[in-house]
Subunit: 213 residues, 2 copies
């Protein structure tokens, strides 16, 4: 993956680097198609200054450029996930809890083949989400989670919430959407992260197994 972002704004390399670094952390660093990186995965920003519009540090133009960069990079990163090999649907997992635990847990859920196939099938399978999260949870602490899928509480303090057949039907329908949100609340405070991920489809397997390199 190569991404090139260009602007004709006039700003210093330091200012662009700072803005761009923040935006990449909120976009390309928060996506996964299949958990495997390439040594080529790169995002570049180039500012020519051709417009003559000066962007000074901490001024209103910097804020405007930062917001535009942020919106653009997030959209580009999401497009990668939505266009993932054979992908039919995007998952977004949001994890809150102990600062050092949220990232491995979010990656564990985003990269679980069982979560990704359930997402493909539109199945609100909370057991698979909890398994993947618990497997990535650092040993030592009890793992007690709340889990919402598409805003509906399915697991509260580790216990399944009894849902009616009607609730489950509605939840199943909401999982047919192009984007499905999982929200995990874990023990501890102060950490929060999100990962956007592709589902896992038969087309992914065909795409990646049916040729020789």
């Amino acid at each position: 993956m190569f991404c090139f972002v260009e602007t004709d704004a006039a700003l210093s390399a330091e200012t662009l680097d700072l803005l761009f670094g923040v935006c990449v952390k909120r976009s390309f660093d928060r996506i996964s198609v299949d958990g495997q990186l390439s040594t080529s995965d790169s995002v570049f920003a180039l500012a020519s200054g051709a417009s003559g519009v000066r962007v000074e540090p901490e001024g209103p133009a910097e804020l405007a450029l930062g917001e535009a960069l942020d919106a653009l990079l997030r959209q580009l990163a999401l497009d990668i996930v939505a266009d993932g090999e054979g992908a039919a649907r995007v998952g977004r997992v949001v994890v809150e809890g102990r600062p050092e635990a949220v990232e491995p847990v979010a990656r564990g859920v985003a990269n679980s083949p069982l979560v990704k196939t359930a997402l493909h099938g539109g199945d609100p399978n909370f057991g698979r989400v909890l398994q993947a999260a618990g497997q990535a949870w650092p040993a030592g602490d009890a793992f007690v989670a709340d889990l919402e899928i598409e805003g509906r509480l399915l697991v509260s303090a580790g216990d399944a919430v009894g849902l009616t057949a009607g609730d489950l039907g509605e939840l199943g329908e909401s999982m047919q959407a192009p984007e499905v949100e999982y929200r995990l609340t874990l023990p501890g405070e102060g950490g929060e992260t999100e990962v956007f991920f592709s589902d896992l489809s038969p087309a992914y397997v065909e795409f990646n197994s049916a040729y020789t390199t």
Copy 2:
């Protein structure tokens, strides 16, 4: 997964626990279908003593029982991988190198969707193996690897070995076998491990996405 192993040998709980622990480490601890564990995954050993045959610690009967247990558990564990959901082929990755690095690298290769789909397609894609291994390699050291697939050297000290079209054809044919071996030699000495893993097929996805739980 539940596995129950029974014997009518007469031996102490301590002796059985010791023998069994070693055998489980060499079998059920060395397999992966999709990298996801269940809280139910359990292996039990029961010794009734009904035969009256005493198995004393460090005696010949202990050695014979240990060898039988080892062969049995390894076969059962391999059957799980070969019978993995939709699996067509078993991969075996052997990793040698720094003791603390061999396990994450072997798991990284065994659980890479790109390695598993290439295995499904019978594709000797060494780039995917190196990528998965490198991603799991602890930062700090240069990653320089030798890689053999089915006994054929494909990468030597990090460089691709030029293979003739005939060599590649033979290698592709050998990857149609029920079991395919990958051997990685990494920097450092004293560590060695192996992981057996299932390929990733369209049938795996269908099996895991086409029902609601």
